[in-house]
């Protein structure tokens, strides 16, 4: 799968996100303090505004999350699941450092996000 070059790894702030354009879509990329990288949709599905890269990162029981800057809903950076609303999730993008350069796959991953119990019907 093709990859899109984003920026030199050192130019990414630690424990914060940046937004990038990938295949015409907006992606939020996070560089965590322990070196882990994550990329999810930049569009906040709760408000329909592209702002997730500007949220605060943190963790819940060890799972890295970002909190939307608008209303603080938290998203699992590894699965895209919204911890505060089981009906909501964002897509996850594969991110990798190649030769000191952060790259993002041209298409989002398809992650199995557990369907919420009550919405089964």
């Amino acid at each position: 799968m093709s990859r899109v070059r984003i920026a030199h790894i050192d130019s990414l702030p630690v424990d914060r996100g940046v937004a990038a354009v990938v295949s015409g879509e907006y992606v939020a990329i996070f560089r965590l303090a322990d070196g882990e990288l994550a990329a999810i949709d930049h569009l906040d599905p709760c408000s329909n505004v592209p702002v997730l890269a500007r949220g605060l990162v943190g963790c819940v029981d060890g799972t890295p999350v970002v909190a939307s800057p608008l209303h603080k809903q938290r998203f699992d950076l590894r699965t895209g699941r919204c911890l505060d609303d089981p009906n909501v999730s964002v897509r996850v993008w594969r991110v990798e450092v190649i030769d000191q350069t952060v790259t993002v796959a041209a298409e989002p991953m398809t992650v199995a996000v557990e369907p919420p119990a009550e919405s089964a019907a």
Binding site: A7, L12, V49, L56, V57, C59, D84
Partner: protein, 831 residues
């Protein structure tokens, strides 16, 4: 027409009301009026006397227009007394020997305070509380060096008011001694009196009821020092106020052979005539149908009735209703009808809520169920209707028992809310649902959010949810921690102390030494705020950048469509025309929506992230700086125009507001801080609704703390009076520094004060009396802030590295999202 000479003895509230009425009705100019007043000034509002201590001036309190006194319509003679009346010759003798004739003589000499004959009652340092001169004497005595304790004899309306005044004058130790077992027995009865006593306790006045004073003792200097009770108990008192009731000033009448009542007072009939021809009496000096009134309203009714009689519209005075509604020490108190009726033929309905200190009692005729009267303490809602019912002016509502409930009760603690009550209105989550979630194992607010969605929208209910969860856990026997979040076991206050002690400068140090995991949206901004408060460096340097909420991170507030607002600082609301023009041009060039904020400044909305530096460059070039609308920091110091322009202003409120704003701008704190400065007691700057409120007085500034608007508005508490500029600023410095050190995260000063053991008193002991010995440190905290302050936007604009994160897409610097706009009323707004 023959002119008649009306001589009024006494220029108090009632005498003056009579003059006003007579002059107004006398269009033919039939009356010549002379007024003899013992006090050196025209009549003033005695009911509002205590407000003089809060800065209302003599002129504010005056009931007579200065131009009227000088107009010659009425011959006023101040500082004179009438000594005797020759009722046969129709003359009076004044204290300076003048003899004046009259056609009609009106006695309006009021009352004098009764001083019980306790041995030592006349030692220096003892006062009564009746005139402006009394208050000036009390103030001088209470503010002399070494004066720390005050004592009031009498726990009635006036006694409690006097006690409050002593507190406001800066005395820490104030006692009220009342012989009855509770205050205001006659008006409020036992239940109401005891509830009022609770209020008084909560206000920091020490009320001693059911006790008997024996004698006063003087200290070495000859001024009063203590009161010894009959059981040997002693109370310290450097100043004493007698407030044990009043007695009619009927001496002139007695000396002149006019009939007086058995228990004093000049006897009048329904026409208000005394036993002497053409001599009348009105106000507190009159005894009518064996009753003397100690309130102003009956006196006003008498004044109106007598003036009408003089101008040819005679109507009798038939007595007055004694129902009253007052604010006593800020506590609402009312009694109406036969407020204290008791016995076999009386039924009662009672509401007694000791937690919110509300007591309401209705007395009903047991035979007919008719409302006879009642007492209301802490919540006087319905008073008007209930009084009308007892007076037969309104029909009694069928659901009278429902009126016993306080309508204005504060929202009860969530823990006691019924299951059906809605707690989160955005997501329709009820109290019952949250209780259920706790019962099923949720122990934190984030778990509750996850389980119920409560608090996930506007967030306004989160404090309520937090309290409910805490109460529920407590009632389930679970130990409740005050830990910030899952990453820190500490409260904000503990964390602040740790950071301060270890002199940490980075998030990494704080997290690795005291926290776990990666932190979260709760602890990160909290630590950011602590680091900023302690070092005052640039908030986006080093790893602090990763801690800042998006608003702080972009030094602007994110709006609903992802754009930002720009709010430059406008200290005290003062702005030059050039700055105003500059803002207009900036808004035009960047197509920004312009709105005047509720905080006396200008908001430019709809800025895109990449435009922020360009916009701010122009704002800075126009001589303005960051307004910190985005930070938990000082917002605005609101001000009125003050003495520079306003005809009522007594100090330069704009100057003070600007000084304060420039001093505390950018000061990071647990929650936002707002201040206000008003130029006089009219309070146009609404200072009493601010965290710190300053109101000018003739001799300085009164300081109020702990007010706010918002979701649960709270009036600020008076903290100190008549401060000079330097003391004012020092006191505010310490108040803020202590708040910043000890408050919880997102706790406004009001909630912080309420959470402190001892409340305002505790704060006073720390920042005024320096009981913890930390005042020097608090002073230094603020000095560091003042010395190292730098406008964050200027600092950002000067540094290309700092500017780099105002690019929307790292890999496509030219690309920007475009929100959808529509036009509304000529400006651009989000679709």
């Amino acid at each position: 027409m023959e002119r008649r000479h009306v001589l009024v003895v006494g220029n108090g509230m009632v005498g003056q009301r009579f003059v006003d009425r007579l002059v107004a009705a006398d269009d033919g100019g039939e009356f010549d009026i002379t007024v003899i007043g013992e006090e050196s000034r025209p009549a003033y509002d005695r009911v509002a006397l205590s407000s003089w201590f809060e800065g209302r001036s003599e002129a504010d309190l005056s009931l007579v227009d200065a131009s009227f006194v000088g107009s010659g319509r009425v011959d006023y003679r101040f500082g004179r007394t009438v000594d005797t009346i020759d009722t046969a010759a129709y003359t009076v003798l004044l204290d300076d020997g003048t003899v004046l004739g009259y056609d009609e003589l009106v006695l309006a000499t009021g009352s004098f305070p009764f001083v019980p004959p306790i041995p030592g009652h006349d030692i220096d340092g003892t006062f009564v509380y009746r005139t402006l001169d009394d208050l000036a004497d009390i103030k001088r005595c209470a503010q002399r060096d070494g004066c720390t304790s005050g004592l009031v004899i009498g726990g009635g309306l006036l006694g409690l008011e006097a006690a409050n005044a002593l507190r406001a004058l800066g005395l820490d130790d104030v006692h009220v001694v009342e012989m009855a077992p509770y205050p205001m027995p006659a008006q409020l009865g036992e239940g109401g009196g005891r509830m009022l006593a609770r209020w008084v306790d909560s206000l920091g006045v020490q009320l001693h009821c059911g006790v008997a004073p024996d004698h006063f003792e003087a200290g070495a200097s000859g001024t009063v020092e203590r009161l010894v009770m009959s059981d040997g108990t002693e109370y310290p008192c450097d100043v004493v106020i007698f407030s044990a009731g009043v007695r009619p000033r009927d001496q002139v009448a007695r000396d002149s052979g006019i009939d007086v009542g058995e228990r004093g007072g000049v006897m009048v009939d329904d026409t208000l005539a005394t036993s002497a021809p053409n001599v009348w009496a009105i106000g507190e000096v009159a005894v009518h149908r064996e009753r003397v009134y100690g309130l102003v309203a009956p006196g006003y009714e008498m004044a109106a009735a007598l003036a009408a009689r003089f101008t040819g519209e005679p109507g009798d005075y038939a007595g007055s209703d004694l129902s009253t509604k007052l604010k006593l020490l800020g506590v609402d108190v009312a009694s109406f009808g036969q407020s204290n009726a008791m016995g076999d033929d009386i039924d009662e309905i009672v509401y007694n809520d000791p937690v919110n200190r509300i007591f309401r009692r209705f007395a009903l005729d047991a035979a007919t169920g008719r409302l006879l009267g009642g007492a209301l303490v802490g919540d006087v809602s319905g008073y008007e209707l209930l009084t009308a019912v007892t007076l037969g002016q309104a029909t009694q509502p069928d659901d009278l028992p429902a009126y016993i409930l306080p309508a204005s009760i504060r929202p009860p603690d969530e823990g006691t809310l019924p299951d059906g009550a809605l707690l989160c209105s955005c997501n329709a989550v009820s109290v019952g649902t949250i209780r259920g979630a706790v019962a099923e194992g949720c122990t934190t607010v984030s778990e509750i959010k996850e389980a119920t969605c409560a608090g996930t929208s506007c967030g306004g209910c989160v404090p309520g949810v937090t309290t409910l969860v805490r109460n529920e856990l407590q009632s389930l026997g679970v130990e409740v921690s005050n830990a910030l979040c899952e990453h820190f076991d500490h409260s904000r206050k503990e964390l602040f102390a740790l950071v301060r002690f270890h002199r940490y400068r980075t998030w990494a140090e704080v997290l690795s030494n005291h926290g776990t995991g990666r932190g979260c949206e709760i602890c990160r901004p909290t630590v950011a705020s602590i680091l900023a408060s302690l070092s005052n460096g640039y908030v986006l340097d080093g790893d602090q950048s990763s801690l800042q909420d998006t608003n702080d991170h972009h030094l602007a507030n994110m709006q609903r469509n992802g754009t930002y607002s720009v709010i430059p600082r406008v200290p005290g609301g003062e702005i030059t025309p050039d700055q105003l023009i500059a803002l207009g041009l900036i808004a035009k060039d960047f197509d920004l929506y312009v709105k005047i904020t509720g905080g006396q400044r200008i908001d430019l909305l709809g800025a895109q992230m990449h435009d922020l530096p360009g916009i701010w460059q122009r704002v800075v070039d126009a001589g303005m700086e960051s307004g910190h609308a985005y930070g938990k920091a000082l917002r605005t110091v609101k001000s009125c125009v003050g003495s520079v322009w306003c005809r009522y202003g007594v100090q330069d409120s704009v100057g003070m507001a600007i000084d304060l704003e420039n001093r505390y701008r950018g000061l990071r704190s647990p929650h936002k801080l707002k201040m206000g400065v008003s130029g006089c007691t009219r309070e146009c700057a609404e200072a009493q609704s601010k965290d710190v409120g300053v109101i000018a007085t003739e001799s300085g500034w009164n300081l109020y703390v702990g007010g706010n608007g918002g979701r649960s508005p709270r009036h600020a508490d008076l903290f100190a009076t008549d401060l000079d500029d330097e003391t004012l600023v020092r006191t505010i410095d310490r108040f803020l520094a202590y708040y910043i050190r000890t408050a919880d995260r997102l706790q406004r000063t009001s909630v912080w004060l309420d959470s402190l053991d001892g409340g305002l008193e505790h704060v006073r002991s720390v920042i005024v009396d320096d009981e913890l010995g930390i005042c020097d440190e608090l002073d230094a905290d603020i000095a560091l802030h003042v010395d190292t302050y730098e406008c964050e936007w200027r600092a950002t604009l000067n540094d290309p590295e700092r500017l780099s994160h105002f690019v929307e897409f790292v890999n496509a610097p030219e690309e920007n999202t475009t929100p959808v706009w529509i036009q509304e009323r000529g400006q651009r707004v989000p679709a």
